[in-house]
Symmetry: C2
Subunit: 450 residues, 2 copies
């Protein structure tokens, strides 16, 4: 990065030390620091845009050489409106309710022996992301609001943008424990980071399937994220077909490069003849390459739409592009079975006007998000009302789907006693436990005060 | 196990299929199945005790040969009262509130677009445990109550006991989805299991540090558990010293072989002269081998108690036996720093009558459980009122401390719409989101009903 830059080990250890202090900074102070970050970003808009121009110029050379795609360069590019929206996002994270300190459970184990389960930060979270410089700010903001120290590793294509944004954040939060946010820049530093499972509590990779898989395969740190999003839209026999066509289109065409775009359209056999000709023509008009099973292809041929034969691999592929696999299924059971066998547990949608069939599909499909009569593209932390997201998890442990502030917290058990021994509750004539749940907040030492 | 026994792969796949169905079995049916298990265990008490006698006889030969310890054989041994208590434990798990189906959050994203976060089972959980045959029943009961399929691998020393108990459970739950509980017996099957990260959602090893470490190092499945419990009792300058001595004794002596027993006693310098002579003598009388820092040894020498010099490694060692490290610290800050540097994030206790100092210690110590004026030995799922526990986690992701039913659940997002497109909320003149939280339970399709 520059001369006398500390090593990755030193940075991670600094974050670890800061995390212990940050856990006990008040919500008022954490939120005030975030508002200072938002102001600093607005004040330094020109500096941010200058740095971004340097990154974009380099990226455009790679675009011309065929190394980058236009959408990659688009995601990298900031403008004045975008910088303002980043500042607003930081303020909206500051305005979220404090995710820390809430008493999640209170249980009286015995007289004057009270157990409290209280929300606390995880500690040190690390993220590795690419392209979009706003991701750095989003993740840092969520980490600070939730009291976590954070290690940020962006893509090399955004080096100048990320460095300016990181330094603005660090300087604007100088009242926070020193070292709470750390930037690492070199690819090889990622491997150092992944080896520090004693110091880093959670890693959230955002990027290509191959990269997320690499992280999962090369660390003992718990990983939250997703390698792929093979999402389905299932058009049931009882669907409103006009609505279904609009939703199915939106789910693919509105933004095909993202993980919550649909990859496979499943259509109940009893409505396929009526539904498919029009929707396939609309996909075709929108430039979507279609791959179908035999029944889909027969209907498409009658409607004069070109659908190539889907191969087995098409049912499990995330295209991330204007390509769609289409299959006719004989029943809701077959749709559920296809999704559970081929999906990636990300986001699935059923289109039907039959409430029972909707419930059946939604309960039986094993995915982080299951929708009824809505586009899969709604699976997103901002749309879900989480303020922002650090990523989307397809795992089933800790946090599922879009991960916001709640996914960056854990809990701690506090037990308040007045000198109780386990020996009293064991052996001959043990004292019984009460185990009564009650409403109450943890107040340290309140038993000895009374 | 026996001829025509299915392979581990087949068993895990059967569990995976069963999990999808078990997720939608009602609480009444799951609980009724558990009560049938409790009845079956009582009815088959003689058969269980016969099988256990076979295991115990073999274990006693190994005890005589010096391969097993007496406490290991004790944990393996069942009697009629123990069998009855196992049946009662199963009933108490059946009586717990349903951990599934609860709406954890409901948020109106827009008119007729409602997001629900609902508790669901994880899927397939696997446990590997040793010695105590009641562990098999405890884990299977918690898994069934929480709607999870379970893979059970017990220790070879309990083969006959485990097999009888497993078959009783399987037969008594024949109304549940076929294959929901699977027993694997061979050591090499553990490696097969650990490789099936596509099918198994969570593994919880219970056993030696080395074994838990082996599991963590050899699987991509998320692991919940602990490799060690280096727990501290800190006697503050404002402690009631009589109470402190009783608690410090209980934390070590009441059951030294377990992970929540204290391993290091920290004593504030201003009370060390008054506190240590008596408590060290009591430890000595109880047969506890003492290792101390220089200041502790000086005080001990004056009191004529033998304390050997503690080496650096003593501060991070889990003795799991009647051995204790003792250190004098100059301040609460030093106590916190010692615990955070040397502890294993399991259970820590402060003894003080000063509420502010208690709160300070409890907030700043990074551990799953932090106690005030109570023995570390209370860190246990049964004592916490969780009904039972599948293990104790020192990780910070998903579940911390004693893990009961809540730790075996995750959540799913359900979105109910009436055909919304993301395109309406993006681009020029986007519709705004409402993002209003409301009280409500997810009812599939209720928007289209109205």
């Amino acid at each position: 990065m520059r001369e006398s830059e500390p090593s990755t080990e030193t940075k991670v250890e600094a974050a670890e030390a800061a995390a212990l202090d940050l856990a006990n900074v008040s919500d008022d102070d954490r939120s005030a620091a975030l508002r200072a970050v938002a102001d600093a970003i607005e004040d330094a808009a020109d500096e941010i845009l200058d740095a971004n121009e340097t990154d974009v110029a380099a990226a455009e050379e790679k675009l011309a050489a065929g190394d980058y795609t236009q959408s990659f360069v688009d995601r990298l590019t900031l403008d004045a409106a975008k910088v303002e929206s980043i500042a607003e996002m930081v303020r909206s994270v500051a305005d979220q309710r404090d995710p820390l300190g809430e008493t999640l459970e209170a249980r009286r184990l015995d007289e004057a022996l009270e157990l409290y389960k209280v929300g606390v930060p995880i500690g040190v979270v690390a993220t590795v992301f690419e392209s979009r410089p706003d991701a750095l700010v989003q993740i840092a903001a969520l980490a600070l609001k939730s009291g976590n120290a954070v290690i940020l590793k962006g893509g090399s294509e955004a080096t100048h943008s990320n460095r300016v944004l990181y330094e603005l954040i660090r300087d604007a939060t100088d009242e926070m424990p020193d070292g709470w946010a750390q930037l690492i820049e070199a690819r090889e530093d990622v491997d150092t980071l992944l080896g520090m499972d004693e110091s880093v509590d959670l890693v959230m990779p955002r990027g290509s399937s191959a990269f997320v898989q690499y992280v999962q395969d090369n660390t003992k740190i718990p990983v939250l994220g997703h390698t792929e999003g093979v999402c389905h839209v299932y058009v049931d026999r009882d669907a409103d077909l006009d609505t279904a066509a609009d939703v199915a289109l939106d789910a693919k065409v509105q933004y095909p490069a993202v993980c919550n775009a649909v990859e496979t359209l499943l259509v109940h056999a009893s409505v396929a003849d009526e539904f498919l000709p029009d929707v396939l023509a609309r996909y075709d008009d929108a430039g979507v390459e279609l791959r179908g099973d035999d029944r889909t292809r027969e209907i498409a041929a009658d409607a004069d739409v070109d659908v190539t034969p889907a191969r087995e691999a098409d049912w499990t592929q995330e295209y991330g592009d204007l390509v769609l696999a289409v299959k006719v299924v004989d029943s809701l059971d077959d749709a559920v079975a296809h999704v559970n066998a081929n999906g990636s547990k990300h986001t699935e949608s059923i289109l039907t006007d039959d409430a029972d069939r909707a419930g059946d599909f939604m309960r039986r499909v094993d995915a982080a998000s299951v929708f009824h009569n809505a586009s899969t593209r709604f699976a997103d932390g901002y749309r879900y009302g989480l303020g922002a997201e650090v990523g989307i998890s397809t795992g089933k442990i800790h946090a599922r789907g879009p991960v916001g502030l709640d996914g960056l917290t854990t809990y701690k058990y506090y037990l308040e006693g007045d000198g109780q021994l386990v020996a009293s509750y064991a052996g001959e004539n043990p004292k019984p436990f009460l185990h009564e749940e009650f409403d109450g907040e943890w107040v340290p030492g309140h038993l000895s005060d009374s």
